[in-house]
Every structure is written in structure tokens, then in C-alpha cells.
Point group: C3
Chain length 287, copies 3
């Protein structure tokens, strides 16, 4: 009855096993994605085919497709968003071009990356929404919409975000039982203001732990470590999409915020390890 | 610590592998289900046993059990719902018999199927609720309650719905990164009105994409393809159970709605393919 | 792209397979946990290393760590919760010490266990929040916060809860398609009052079924079995974190509540079996 779901898991396991065997480093899946992106980039109007395992997948280039990133993140751009859709979404009418970054896994890394993108481009943050997702994990997926007068600005914002995500995912540590997540910026911009009411231009840190208690202890540790202030507090019942996280954001002097975030990371990792887990960075730690 | 969950995954994989080996076409699991249904249908008051792998499961017939469908869907009927429960659910007191269709995976296919069922039977839609479920996927599970004065009407509505679900799941395309979903009817009825405020008797289409950005681009494409109107818009923050979807419904001339839905499907499939995925229909495409 | 998630599943499967081969009874994972706990208990201020598969995980003892239980449950204690965090959480200022029990999988078993803990200790229930979690299952994770004037009371409450959870999970029956859950106490205390508005000191039962329809039929059966009253009703849209459950709680004479809960269990198990499933108790049935 649920064979299609069971087969999906099986497929993943088989894919993973055969990747391991034939080609360490996941080159195969990267290859598929690279080709897909090439098919888009060197679009000649013809359909391209992409090999994936034994199947041939036909990829018709879509002009709105910008690229992908870790966490099933997809970046899209719409040059002239339909007027009625625009209205239903409650966007400012002056912006017709939108850039969109949408992910199954991850909200913090995406908001941090988008914050760099708004600093670097002529765009505004039109919308940030969190979904209860993470493919069975304890956290969020997300959708972030950039608004711009010119489509090239929207595209640029999406490109910057996709590139930054690889870095921002470095401070997400996952394991079977949960995850912890740390983010730090010396200067908060519009995405952090929209999502967390971060004070613009100030040092800002985000502390996340799952299951929720882990986040609470991390936040308590952070607040006791240095002279920082709470900006926002979110828990399964308030401010999250019912995710199993406690998310606390802090501000203060640059050194204090950084020190607090590091202290929170250490206690978070040690609690997960005390649970018999081995939390690992999704990419490469920065903080 | 979570061995029972790990074992569950393992069991599925093993079941799936052994099914593949011994008996292509998943006949084994069908057999179990068929027997379970036989046990119910030819109920003689005695307990029956159903073989499942090496275990013997004893199935005691339950008169309220109607049947099952894809997506862990179960159909039940209660001839005379308890008065206090009836009240707590906020149902109209004049209907004491209820038919219930409830699923782990799927809301659109179930609502479309229920819409055919209300057309074909003397029932009303008492309740439609969406759960954030899909077994780790990006979407919804659902519960739909039919109300009827006579239990045989409630049972008939559930039977029609269960039968239709196999068809309506054909326009759901899933892959690891997400899914897209299209639904079209030439004439919307009470289930679509309840769930989406669809105009009764008019052509109606539903467009769903996950992760959410995919749904947004699909909706934008649909609205630009033909002369159709938005009826409803739902996103992770509004109108969904925090699922990672954008769901847009449209109405208009029959040809226009159909054309828009097809255009949305094409762009949705191509975005998922550009992500290196291979979205496939859960059963058999209709539109 | 999602290799880290795929690898996670693979790891679990491999871990599970190798556990089965080398050491029936999951002694290996228990060993890891035991050692982690030893590392904490016999804390000498030094770092300890815990073997897990081929990796060495370094566990730095965290004084706030109390222990773990089934369902990725972790128990923590904070002797003097930061004043600003305390305020953001809306806790009563008179209690500075908190005990926290937080889980990826399970809410009912944790609330029942916490109810025994408040009976046995000098603590109050400061907070109960449910997350939409269960690692891809249909239900809830949870966080429960005990407040106490003295940290030793908070710690004791967490210890009692962690110990009780093994028992309370016995009346949770899971299978791939969903789960059912039953809870019964002869005398409801403060945790049940906080979570379900249970009348203090009275017999109290909780009935849960997923997918939601299963819970509805179980509740209907319970109410028809004996002279009991509904205390609370929750469904995907109201009173849950959009979980795919219907949760009904009942009160009445001790014998009546017990009889109703047993009848609900039987019909719930039989519906899941009729779906071709084999629901099994997570630990050992009590009721």
C-alpha cells in the first residue's frame, strides 16, 4: 500500500550504497546536478537528457531556474510575477520581479545567507516563511522571497544566497536524535530584521537546539557567558511552525555575541554526545 | 534508544527487498491486505489470522472498517456517533451517521475523491482537516468526515472515495526533494467548496508544489497560460498546516483551467528535474 | 545534495544490521549510553571518550545533564535559569530552578510520567508544549518544564519522569501506518491538569489514534463502553500541533475509565491490523 514510500527509502539506500562503492565523494550525484545546471546554463532551447542511475531524465530548461544548494534548496526567479498572485501574497506592488529561495531542510542557514545577499544587491526581503519540514528531522524548511525592480537584481540575490548556504550550513550539527545550529554575524541586515527583529547593523547571534530542551540549555549558557541581550525567543508553541526546537537570538558587542555563541555550541554538542550521539557539521564549521 | 524506529525502517527495507526477490508486483503485501479485507467481508464473528512475513496477526473483524487505499488511507463508518463526541467535533446534530476517510499521505487526492463521492451519494461534507504529515514528506495527511442520515449512505461515500483515490493519486508526482500535484474537475462540488471555497458547479483546478517555491512558479505559470482566476492561495504560514507547499486553486472556463493545470505540471516537473530529481506519478497520470 | 540525510538512514540501517549480527538485544547502543551516563555520574572534571562503532566521541560532562530515555528523550536541570530567559518563557518568578524533559517522539507517555513525578516531588509543572515531530511518524514530540525552589527537587522530578517513561511507553503501539496510545491513571495530578484540564485526583484516561480516524473510532468506542465523560478533544486542526491524531481524554469512575480505555485499545489495534499492519507495544503493555 505504501510501497512507493518504502521504495523511495530503498532507492536512497541503494543509491547511497552504490555511490559509496563506485565513487567515493558522491561524485555521481554531483555529476547529475552539474549536468542539470549545465543543461540550464548553456540552454539552446533544445531538451537535454541527464543520466541518473539507469534512467534517462529529460530536463527542459526553465528560464526561471537559478540553481540548487544543500538541503533540497532551489533558487528561482520570476521576472514579472502575476499581478493577482502578487496581491494574494501581500507583496508591495512596486516590485514585480521576485527571487525565491526555498528549501526542505534549513531556515537559519538560509536566512543568514539571504542577509548577505540583501547587503550585496539592490533588493528587499519581501517574505520569509518557515515550514515544519526537515524531512523527518526536528526543524524547519523555509521560503524566502526577494523583491526587486529589476529581474537581474533578483537573480543576483538568489545566486549570492545559494553560494552562501554552503558556508552557513557549516554551523549546523546534526545527528539522529536532533541538531544544534549557531549563527553569528558582525552586522545584521534586512533578512535578520524581518525574521527575528534583529537591530540593523548590530552584532547578532542565533542559537538553535533540538530536541527543544537542548536549545533552552544552550540559550541559558549563552546568556550567562557574556554581556548579551535576548532579541527573540521561539519554542514549539510560539514563533516556530511547531518544530521541536528552542530558538533564541541575541545581540550585544561583537566579541560578546561571538563568545556566547561558542559557549552555546559547546554545551549543545556535549548534551547530544551525552545522549550517545555524534553530531557532525553539515559542511565545514566557521565560528 | 530509538531502536524501534530504526527497526521500522529496516523492516521496510527488508520487506521491500524480499518482496522484490520473491514476488515482483508487491503481491505479498496485497495478499495480506486482501486477506484482511476478506476477513472483514466474510466475517462470521470468528477471529481470523493473517500471515505477514513470519508472524501471524490476528484480525478481529470490526464492523466500522470499510477498506483501505494508497497513502495509508483508511475508510471507516460509525452508524451512530456518540452524542458528546458529535458535539465536541461541532457537527450538525441532524446527522448521526458518519463516514470517515483518513490518510497519512495526501490531502488533494482525498478531497478530489470525496468530491466525486458527495456527487454520487446522499451525504454532506461535515469536516475536512489537514495534518502536517506525509511520513516525512513535505505535505499533508488528511481526515474527511461525511455526514448522513443513513449509515448506508455514509458507507457508500467512503467506498466511492477509496475507489477514486487510486485515480486522483495519479496526478501526484513525488521525488526525494519534494512533489508536485495537479487536480482538475469540470464541475466542483461540496468537498472542494468546503476545502477551497470552490464555486459550485464550475471548472476547478488545484496546483501544488513542494518545496514551496516550486508551487509558486507553477501557479504563476498557470495564471499566465490562460484566462483563469485564483480562488485560494496557501503557503507554509497561511492556510496550510505549516506544510512546505504553495497551494493555489483556480477557476474559469473548462478548457482554460485544464490548459493552465497542464502548463503548471510541465514547469513543476522540469524544476524538480533541474534539481537532479526524477519525479514520478504515484499511480497513473490522468490530466 | 541530501547525502547527509541519506547517509543518516543508511547509517541507521547498517547500525541496526550490525547490532543484530554481533549482539542481539541492542547491547551495543545501551553500552554507549551507559558509558555516557557513567561519564556524567563519575564526573571528575576530565573529558571521557565513548566508543561508538569505529568513532571515538569525546563527551565532556555537563552538570545539567540528568539522563535519557526512549524516544530521544533527554532530561536536563538548570539550577538558576537566566532571568531574561525565565521572563521570555513566561515562568513564575519565584521558581529559579527548572527540570526539563524533552523528546523527539512522544507526548502522552511523557505527560503521564511527569504526572507521577509531580506527585512524588516538591515541584510544579511550569510548561508543557507539544512539537509536531515523531521523526516522520504521525504524532508529537514534547517538552515539559518542572519548576522548583530547590535544584535537587527539579532533578528528582526529571529522574522520576525518565524512569517512568519506559513504563508509560508500553501502552503505545506503533506500526508503519500509524499508532495508537492509551493511558490510564487512578488519580490525575498537575501534569494532566496542565495538559488536558484533567480534574485533580480523579480517574483519567487518554485515547490516541493515528491516522486521525482511528482515534475517532477509538473514542467513540470508549464513550459507548462505560459511563465516562469527555474531558478534552483534539484533532489535526484544534488542540494538536497539526499532528495526524485524534486525542480524546475521559474521566469517570476508576473501573469505567479503565474498561473504556481497554475497549478503545482493542478496536484501535484491530483497525490497524485490518489495514494489514502489525502494531506492537514500544516496551511492555501495562493496561
Amino acid at each position: 500500500m505504501n510501497d512507493y514510500l518504502i521504495n523511495k527509502v530503498l532507492e536512497e539506500v541503494q543509491k547511497s550504497l552504490s555511490l559509496k562503492k563506485s565513487d567515493p565523494g558522491n561524485d555521481n550525484s554531483t555529476k547529475v546536478q552539474d549536468r542539470a545546471e549545465q543543461a540550464i546554463c548553456h540552454s539552446t532551447g533544445e531538451n537535454k537528457t541527464v543520466e541518473k542511475g539507469d534512467n534517462l531524465i529529460e530536463v527542459t530548461p526553465v528560464t526561471e531556474f537559478v540553481g540548487t544548494a544543500i538541503g533540497d534548496t532551489v533558487g528561482l526567479v520570476i521576472a514579472n510575477l502575476d499581478r493577482h498572485l502578487h496581491e494574494k501574497m501581500g507583496l508591495d506592488p512596486k516590485y514585480r520581479s521576485v527571487g525565491i529561495v526555498s528549501a526542505r531542510t534549513g531556515a537559519g542557514p538560509h536566512i543568514m545567507a539571504a542577509d548577505e545577499a540583501v547587503k550585496a544587491t539592490n533588493t528587499e526581503i519581501a517574505l520569509i516563511e518557515l515550514a515544519r519540514d526537515t524531512k523527518g528531522g526536528a526543524g524547519h524548511g523555509s521560503i524566502i522571497v526577494f523583491a526587486a525592480e529589476d529581474v537581474s537584481d533578483a537573480r543576483r540575490a538568489v545566486e549570492v544566497t545559494l553560494k552562501e548556504i554552503d558556508r552557513t550550513f557549516g554551523d549546523v550539527y546534526t545527528c539522529d536524535a536532533g541538531h544544534i545550529e549557531l549563527h553569528y554575524t558582525a552586522r545584521a541586515s534586512l533578512a535578520l530584521e524581518k525574521a527575528f527583529k534583529a537591530p540593523l547593523g548590530k552584532s547578532f547571534g542565533i542559537i538553535v537546539g533540538a530536541p527543544a530542551a537542548v536549545g533552552l540549555l544552550m540559550a541559558d549558557t549563552a546568556l550567562k557567558t557574556a554581556n548579551v541581550e535576548i532579541v527573540s525567543y521561539a519554542s514549539p508553541d510560539k514563533g516556530t511552525a511547531h518544530s521541536n526546537e528552542i530558538i533564541v537570538s541575541i545581540t550585544g558587542d561583537s566579541g560578546a555575541v561571538r563568545q556566547s555563541v561558542i559557549a552555546a555550541r559547546e554545551v549543545g554538542l556535549n548534551i547530544l554526545r551525552s545522549m550517545g550521539q555524534n553530531p557532525v557539521s553539515v559542511t565545514k564549521p566557521n565560528i
